[in-house]
């Protein structure tokens, strides 16, 4: 048990705690804050297992962009919406039961997968620096990234279309 392992454990538990709070919190802003906590914890995990780039992008893109957008929208929308205070839908207990089963199955599978996989390849310190990351990125995955950026572009266009459509609808 090195310091890194302890920290990984801590961040993982903190991430799961954030997920639980997301289920329990009443107000969307609290949920968003819990999600941000989860994401930051996961970023910590990523950084600790050596993937600095992913950790940074996790914070940069997820917290800095997606969650800012989310908080912005919650700020705009929640005012006066009393009905959102009903926390849970009708399928609360069945869903929790199904979730419990899923946890057992996935946890078991994960555990077994981890156990059955070949042991960790050693000496991969340099693998996750930004430079090899970028090299792999541009050598093997450039098409995927271009496609993803097309998806992003389409999403932006779609968002503009939705907003414009609603504007026209409003008159």
């Amino acid at each position: 048990m090195s310091l890194v392992d302890i920290l990984i454990g801590f961040f993982t538990v903190s991430a799961i705690g954030g997920g639980v709070v997301m289920l329990l919190a009443r107000h969307p802003m609290r949920v968003a804050l819990a999600l941000i906590a989860t994401m930051l914890s996961l970023a910590g995990v990523y950084a600790l297992v050596g993937l600095h780039a992913v950790a940074v992008f996790q914070v940069f893109i997820y917290v800095g962009a997606v969650m800012v957008f989310m908080v912005y929208v919650i700020m705009l929308l929640d005012i006066g919406d009393r009905r959102a205070l009903h926390r849970y839908g009708r399928v609360l207990w069945p869903a929790i039961a199904a979730g419990g089963v899923l946890v057992l199955v996935l946890g078991h599978l994960g555990w077994r997968a981890g156990a059955s996989l070949p042991p960790a390849s050693a000496g991969n310190e340099g693998t996750f620096l930004v430079q090899p990351f970028s090299a792999a990125f541009l050598a093997n995955w450039w098409l995927a990234f271009e496609l993803a950026s097309v998806v992003l572009l389409v999403a932006v266009l779609g968002a503009i279309a939705v907003i414009q459509g609603s504007r026209r609808h409003d008159g």
């Binding site: 107000h27 802003m29 609290r30 804050l33 941000i36 930051l40 600095h52 780039a53 940074v56 992008f57 914070v59 940069f60 917290v63 800095g64 962009a65 969650m67 800012v68 908080v71 912005y72 919650i74 700020m75 705009l76 620096l129 930004v130 430079q131």
Partner: protein, 378 residues
């Protein structure tokens, strides 16, 4: 291992102390510089009296920052009866802490050899050297942007949790302004990354220690002057200061998202703003002014163009590098204050239009030209 920890703790202590001091002193500098700019004298009243004497130490009003801090600490913490007390209290820290964290990846000096610095500990350090940087992460520049993103959430959360329409408006403005200018900032920095070929701030600084065209220091401001202007503009906007202080425009929104904060919580927003000035100074120094580099100064001493070496002791080199960094940083801070007291505030629509229709295309243009140039030369 334990030596690394000790060194890191020393660095953290230095960085925290330096930033907080900068933040406190900048409150005074801002007033004094504004006074000098407008032919006034400025803050000159606060003093410390030596105990048991009538000797008053005024020091040109340097203690005004202290007096402010004391006042903010002792004031009644007047809080609104908001529905989300948790978010209200969290927002301060979300806005304050990420700003401090940014400094973790900034190299504020060259290489430190603690064994050479303190000979009695030479045995313990076993000849290890450390670069003067809290967290030597190779993704340094990305970390900067990552943490900048978190502080947006702090500002927005503050405005939302204050339960006040002025605060909410301020928060909405803060959100959209910070997002817009962060895009500009990132695109500007992309050009630098193209040239430097690194996102590691230490590598960037080391790249700048050379020269271009034989005589000019290879500082970012020389190779990317246009990006320097864009970067400074966008980062002043990120800091929500004049002429981009729309989120807390006093004449329109009282103080925007800070309106409902009082006492030290308000003080932390203000201190955060001033520390951010220092951070912007540090980043600008690192990216464009060659960081801790003094022309011809190497870790061994001054290496004059003729190839002559003036050897300097290690301690002196370290101190020189630290001072160089601080001096450059102070210069940039002073320039930001100059801008703040010179330019009038934008209108809100002008602010966003400026970001999206001026700065963004310019940043893209800069990026394209840089890419072409790098491709042509490289």
């Amino acid at each position: 291992m334990i030596q690394d920890l000790v060194i890191t703790l020393v660095y953290i202590g230095y960085a925290m102390g330096m930033l907080l001091t900068f933040g406190a002193i900048l409150t005074w500098v801002e007033r004094k510089q504004a006074a000098l700019m407008s032919d006034r004298i400025g803050a000159n009243r606060a003093y410390v009296r030596l105990p048991f004497t009538e000797v008053k130490i005024v020091w040109m009003g340097l203690f005004h920052g202290m007096a402010d801090g004391l006042k903010l600490l002792l004031k009644e913490d007047f809080r609104p009866n908001t529905f989300d007390r948790f978010a209200y209290n969290l927002a301060v820290w979300l806005a304050f802490v990420p700003v401090l964290l940014v400094f973790a990846v900034v190299p504020f000096g060259g290489t430190l050899d603690p064994g050479q610095l303190i000979p009695p500990l030479a045995g313990w350090f076993e000849g290890r050297t450390y670069s003067m940087q809290i967290a030597p992460i190779d993704a340094g520049l990305l970390v900067v942007f990552a943490f900048a993103g978190i502080s947006i959430i702090g500002a927005m959360l503050a405005g939302w949790a204050s339960d006040n329409k002025f605060s909410l408006l301020g928060a909405l403005r803060a959100g959209s302004q910070l997002l817009s200018y962060e895009v500009v900032l990132a695109l500007t920095v992309l050009g630098l990354i193209l040239i430097y070929g690194h996102v590691d701030l230490r590598a960037i600084v080391e790249w700048q220690s050379g020269t271009v065209l034989g005589f000019l220091p290879a500082w970012g401001i020389v190779v990317q002057p246009f990006a320097a202007i864009l970067f400074l503009t966008a980062s002043i906007a990120e800091n929500k200061r004049m002429p981009f202080d729309l989120p807390d425009a006093e004449s329109e929104l009282i103080t925007g998202y800070i309106t409902e904060y009082s006492a030290m919580q308000q003080g932390m927003f203000m201190l955060g703003e001033f520390i951010e000035i220092a951070i912007i100074g540090a980043l600008f120094t690192t990216l464009f002014l060659g960081g801790y580099n003094l022309p011809w100064l190497t870790d061994a001493g001054f290496l004059l163009p003729g190839g002559e070496l003036i050897a300097l002791p290690h301690a002196l080199v370290v101190v020189l590098q630290l001072l160089t960094f601080l001096a450059k940083m102070a210069l940039v801070c002073s320039f930001q204050i100059l801008v703040r007291w010179s330019l009038p505030r934008f209108r809100w629509d002008q602010l966003l239009r400026f970001a999206w229709t001026w700065l963004l295309p310019l940043a893209l243009l800069n990026l394209a030209v840089t890419a072409l140039a790098v491709w042509a030369i490289g």
